[in-house]
Amino acid sequence: MKFAKFIAAGILASTILMPVSGYAADKPVVGLVMKSLANEFFKNMLEGAKADEAKRGDYTLKAVGMQSETDVETQINAIESFITEKVDAIVVAPSDSRALVPPIKRAIDAGITVINFDVALDEKAKEEAGVKLAFVGPDNRGGAKLAGDALAKKLGEGAKVVIIEGNPGADNAAQRKLGFMDSVEAGKLDLLDSRTAHWETEEANTLFSNMLTAHPDIQGVLAANDSMALGVVKAIDAAGKTGKIEVVGFDNIPAVQPLLKEKKLLATVDQFGQLMAADAIDKALKVVKGGAPLEGWVKTDIKLVTSDDVK
């Protein structure tokens, strides 16, 4: 979609170029590179960061989002513009764990503090480029294991389950699948099938209906996000198996709250996305102000959410 990119570039240019002269000399400037703002999760995250900026008032935030989940080019362009602008710190949620390593290296070489959050950059790519960079983010694999373990505990050993995966190639999708696999192994579950529904409700609904035909004895579903869990729950309702199949999801979006309450969704995982960007910015500012550089993986909070947590 060239056209989409064109528009994105236009928005990008206008957001970046306009207020350059407005930076107060004393306040540090933080460039925030986000993923798709059409995604509720990232939109909330950005709002959290903006609230943090307003609350603290001691830094200036410049945020850039993408048009779609896979629009890597917009992110690269954003980082390069931030380098030109000589911002003090760049906080980036990479849409691709490899493609963004070279521009990030350029930023580091230019003396900018860079924090990688949400999705970790590829270790090997970092090594090859000679980049040392800490990662601030949730443990997707650990989170998935929390949800998976909840399911295993509910169903018991030998229960027949399927996994609904996220986008093939997306790092968080891969991590969540690994986490589910950990639970399957630890809980001695019987994994019948594992397929992608590309994070989408309608596709998950179709996919799970068909899985249910192929395996009528499914007892549990591990969905890699809540949007897909919504579609799965609807398929269970349509098949008249409400209450006979347990579902866990991930992300704790508002739309699953009623399902948790009705116990149609056993559990989901909250990674406190709203706080994640703000948290990463705080850490970046500490480094900018002379704090010790971060190292390795700085894990952010995750929490299992069940019907008990819903009022």
Partner: protein
């Protein structure tokens, strides 16, 4: 035409009729072959519950494809249907969850607003492409972005949920194993078929698709018909949005991505020519069923996700290649 100074005899007439029947039936035969293959290779394909599943899964694409058939028949294309579906869904979702409405009023108002939203974008697509003679490919690429952006703007990128329980239940109801939602789509197929084959309106649409200038010089208002075709498509998208909500119980601004490609594929597999003027709604129905059966059957076969995607791609290409042969077969 120098080689065929045709003086047709009764015999060639029968031959032509047979060929025409063969040509229309070709898609049906392909569908039957697919069904046979999956019945023999998988255990559960022909079970009642799976047939119900397939029909449910076909429904939304079928409704969009009916609208798309009208647009492709006049030689246009509508790339905006997926985005417009999202727009209609969030508008309808907003209306449906307005506080203080009783459930049935809420559903009726929501349905009307979804269809109105679809018609609005249909009019916009049709008017811009007909008035300034801009290829609809470009215009709808623009409205694709406009509708998606509008949907995000309206909802601030959040998902709308908690629709009336009765609406929710309606979405999964069946009649003798046939989903009610699919019956809605079948009624639309019937209407589409009637309009295209039995009315003056349909005849002129075919005429415009085949030869716009000839139709104009025969006294037909091409401008009106072009807008009408896009508007019908938009209205179908509005209905598709309501069906989506009934089936999945959510409305989100990021739904429907890529739906336009599935709809176009169903129309093309169904034998409608991308250059316009040739095709039928029955073909589109069969085309949508082929896509649905294929998606369902390949999962039951246990093929990997990536293999499924490849096979679906191959089937689209094979269908279009076969169509070329059908075209040759029917040439005298």
């Amino acid at each position: 035409m120098n080689t065929s100074d045709v003086s047709q005899t009764g015999q060639t007439r029968i031959a032509t009729t047979t060929k025409t029947v063969l040509r229309e039936a070709g898609i049906g035969i392909a569908l039957i072959v697919l069904i046979l293959v999956f019945s023999m290779t998988t255990q559960h394909f022909l079970t009642a519950s799976n047939v119900t599943n397939i029909l449910t899964q076909v429904t939304i694409n079928l409704i969009l494809s009916i609208g798309m058939t009208f647009v492709i028949l006049i030689g246009g294309i509508d790339l905006s249907v997926g985005s417009v579906l999202a727009f209609c869904a969030v508008v309808a979702g907003t209306v449906m969850t307005l506080p203080g409405l009783d459930p049935s009023t809420a559903v009726i108002l929501a349905t009307l607003s979804a269809v109105a939203g679809g018609i609005f974008f249909g009019l916009l697509n049709g008017f811009i492409s007909a008035y300034w003679a801009i290829p609809s490919f470009i215009v709808t690429l623009g409205t694709l972005n406009i509708a998606r952006g509008a949907a995000l703007q309206v909802t601030n990128a959040s998902t709308i949920y908690s629709f009336p329980a009765s609406f929710n239940a309606f979405g999964s109801q069946t009649l003798y194993g046939i989903p009610l939602l699919f019956l809605i789509a079948l009624v639309l197929v019937g209407i589409g078929w009637f309009v295209l084959t039995k009315t003056v309106f349909g005849r002129v649409l075919y005429g415009i698709g085949n030869n716009e200038e000839a139709a104009r010089l025969a006294g037909h208002n091409v401008f009106f018909y072009k807008i009408a075709a896009f508007t019908i498509c938009g209205g179908a998208v509005g209905i598709g949005a309501i069906v989506y909500m009934a089936r999945l119980n959510i409305a989100s601004p990021i739904i429907g991505i890529g739906f336009e490609l599935n709809a176009i594929a169903a129309v093309i597999i169904g034998g409608t020519s991308l250059s316009g003027g040739r095709g039928s709604i029955i073909g589109t129905l069969l085309g949508a069923c082929i896509i649905g059966v294929l998606a369902n059957g390949l999962i039951l076969l246990g093929l990997s996700d990536f293999m499924r995607q490849m096979i679906t791609g191959f089937v689209i290409i094979i269908a279009v290649v076969l169509d070329k042969y059908r075209e040759r077969l029917t040439k005298v």
